[in-house]
Amino acid sequence: MQKTSSTKIFFIIGFLLLTGYYLQFSVRHWLEERHIETLSDQERIEYRVQNEERLTHLRTNSLSFGLDLQGGMYVTLELATHQLISELARDQRDDFFDEVLEAAFERSRTTNVDIVSEFVSEFERRDAGARLSRYFHMGSDELTRASTNDEVQAYLNNQRSAAVDRAVEIIRNRIDRFGVTEPSIVKQGENRIVVELPGVEDDQERVRGLLRGTARLEFRTMPQASEVRNTFERVVNLLNETETIEPEDEDGEPETRTRNPLTEVLIDIGGPDIRFGYATTQDTARVNEILRREEVQRAIPANMELLWGSRTEPIGGGTMAHPLLAVRANVELTGEVITDARPAFDPQTNRPEVSMTMNREGARRWSMITAANIERPVAIILDGIVYSYPTVRTQISDGRSSISGLGGLAEAEDLVNILLSGALPAPLEIIEERTVGATLGEASIRAGFNSAMAALLFVCIFMIFYYRTGGGIANIALLLNIVFILGILSAFKATLTLPGIAGIVLTIGMAVDANVLIFDRIREEQRAGKSLIASIESGYSNAMSAILDANITTFLTAVILFSFGMGPIKGFAVTLMAGIVASLFSAIIITRVVVDWMTIGKKFNVSFG
């Protein structure tokens, strides 16, 4: 007995030292932060610079708070894989390809299938003998015309994986330029990216733009005003609906009235113009819907596309409306030629803009484009929206250009950021976003801390009341248990979340269970007439199988919760697991050592109530 006790004591001391080692970072970090708060602003900066290495070391090793406690923004992004597939096929695409992709995309949205494998199997379903390689081998070194569909599928999966990796890098660049302390950007699963931005809570709109912006910059020429007008008239005529209204009285002539769904929402310019028409902000969706109709699409020339302008323009009568602009379908120049961009102000209007510099190839082509379009407008398009369409006055040969039509300086800065970080391989969609303000976070920490303290107090009182000395010993185990949980969380660099704190509070209630099992067993053994020492001995050993079974099953459910849960919920599972391990250790080993020490030689009067 003496021997086992010393092994146990060795374990306890070892575990305590280890916990102490991991927790000292958090304690020292907390003390440093308190010290820094007493300094003046100037001193603070100096102190942080001088001790940067030590402070960073402390911070990275201390127990960190989740975004739900410290405030911040949590975003899950998903790569638009169907657009990536479409891009990869480039000019080889045909109607059949688009149909298959569309069908696969729709199915992947409604059911739980992966779009890449669905795309391949849909293709095979529709045309069993055909090879997908015909669409992709041109743009790839890995594929040849003879590649099998399985090889194409592997190629697409690799491309997607690479695209997500690239997107992670680009997002990291953008976030770094935006300036967030300790952001976390990680790939999740096949096509998702999880972005955690501590401290971001007011700039949600800007951050959304930064995360999503594909920054596909295009320069396109614009058709002649007369061509635009002809198209406008053709589309309007196509949509004219004549309806006959029966006269009120029987003698009256039937009245005919012409209705046009397009001109009801799209304001007619009235003459030849490079603008197709105007629409107020709330009508743009309706206009898009009409323009998407198949017969309307047929009436628009193949080399003409209609895109909205980014800013509203005054159209008289105090009304502001978005112009719908006609641009050529052909892209003259893309953002890939941009080597530098910076925010600036238009010297004439004093409005913010982004000035850009192009590489030599870009400058050469820009020079040619401007030379061929003197006194004609060129559209500068970003992500499908026309930002500006300045009229070219002279040939521009130095490769400079600018984007105006921006909302403000912040937008100009973000645009520069996006342009310089590189274009995303395919658009990213925000599929989940959670923002918690710092004040709510602080309130949560306080509420969680108070709950834990209150639970601890009441459970301890109850245990002493019910089990006397035994209860006191169990309480020591309970207190150490909490220290161990925090130590385990620090050692595994886990993040403490609000549900995590809830897990600790719950553990406070459940952790005494092992001791309750043991003490009740000791009482039973005593009732059966055994001596105190014998009762303790058989109490511990007889309770063991129940304790293990009960804890293993709870641990299993916590593991399942961990693998299913996301974000904060994972924190709950982690503290539950840490709580089970810690409570087993403290309830079985620590209390045993204390009970043995107190009973041997009858040093104390030990009672189990």
């Binding site: 989940e432 099953t553 919920i569």
Partner: protein, 302 residues
């Protein structure tokens, strides 16, 4: 203090009463779920949910709802969230637009009482579906794993069946009560990820209780070989009653404190845990142990 000093309650012989109570609760719960449907939160149905805090006293839920209906173009769901207001909108707008509209409208209607957004959750419909599937899988997977574990540890399928039946009992009734009380209690009972976490914890807790009783049944079945099976199970339940009581009390203290002082975000989670602890304690006696007796007797008769 000794509350249950060698108790001799007739639990098992009165198990029919337990079956009736449980049966009635389960029928009520399933009925409520079928009639009202599960009240999913943002995690599982998607949408935009925003918590707005006012510097002064928050305006009434009804006034916020009517003030926002027109600017948003659809009637939002508005509820209290502690001292604050939670707004859920399915308006056909960009998220940026919804947030701006809410803040602008509140600033216009209550110029003397500035409002700010302290929490915002946006979940896409497809992502919500992913979460729903993952949650369902997790719960079913947990029940499956537990069935297998108990089978391995206790080597009798009726132990497994009793334990899993007790767990399903607890989860169904908790879900049913959540649905029934949804419009009655002044806090959110939306079923979201945190509630699923609570369910799995309930499963873990209830199992904990059941396993302790089972463990004693197994032990007693070796000691009291000649005793009638139902008497032996009843003795085991009584043996462990003191422990069952103490652990339930300490756990209820903890989750009760969490419910009252843990803040608004944890209300639903801690409420589910309170229900779960009570139900789990009850079911380990009246469902898990009782079923073991009936299943064993049935087997013995064959």
């Amino acid at each position: 203090m000794r509350l249950f000093e060698d108790p001799k309650f007739e639990f098992i012989h009165n198990r029919k009463i337990g079956y009736m109570i449980s049966g009635a609760l389960i029928i009520l719960s399933i009925g409520a779920i079928l009639v009202k449907g599960l009240q999913f939160g943002i995690d599982f149905r998607g949408g935009v949910e925003i918590v707005v805090a006012f510097e002064g006293t928050s305006p009434t839920v009804e006034s916020v709802r009517s003030d926002l209906s027109e600017p948003l173009g659809s009637i939002p769901e508005v509820k209290t969230f502690g001292a604050d207001v939670i707004i859920r909108s399915d308006a056909d707008m960009e998220t940026d637009e919804i947030q701006r509209t809410i803040l602008a409208t509140m600033a216009q209607v209550h110029p003397e009482n500035p409002a700010s957004i302290i929490k915002a959750d946006i979940v896409g419909p497809r992502f919500a579906e992913d979460l729903r599937n993952a949650a369902l899988q997790a719960v079913l997977f947990a029940l499956g794993i537990i069935f297998v574990y108990i089978l391995i540890r206790f080597k009798k399928w009726y132990y497994s069946a009793g334990a899993v039946a007790a767990l399903a009992h607890d989860v169904i009734i908790t879900l049913g009560l959540f649905t029934l009380l949804y419009d009655i209690v002044p806090f959110s009972l939306d079923i979201d990820q945190a509630i699923i976490a609570a369910f799995l914890t309930i499963v873990g807790y209830s199992l904990n209780d059941t396993v302790v009783v089972y463990d004693r049944i197994r032990e007693n079945s070796l000691i009291f070989k000649t005793e009638a099976y139902d008497n032996m199970v009843n003795r085991s339940v009584n043996n462990t009653l003191s422990r069952t009581f103490v652990t339930s009390v300490t756990t209820l203290i903890a989750v009760g404190i969490l419910f009252f002082f843990g803040g608004e975000v944890l209300k639903g989670l801690s409420f589910a845990l309170i229900l779960g602890v009570i139900l789990g304690t009850y079911s380990s006696i009246f469902v898990a142990s009782s079923l073991v007796v009936d299943l064993q007797l049935k087997k013995a008769n064959n």
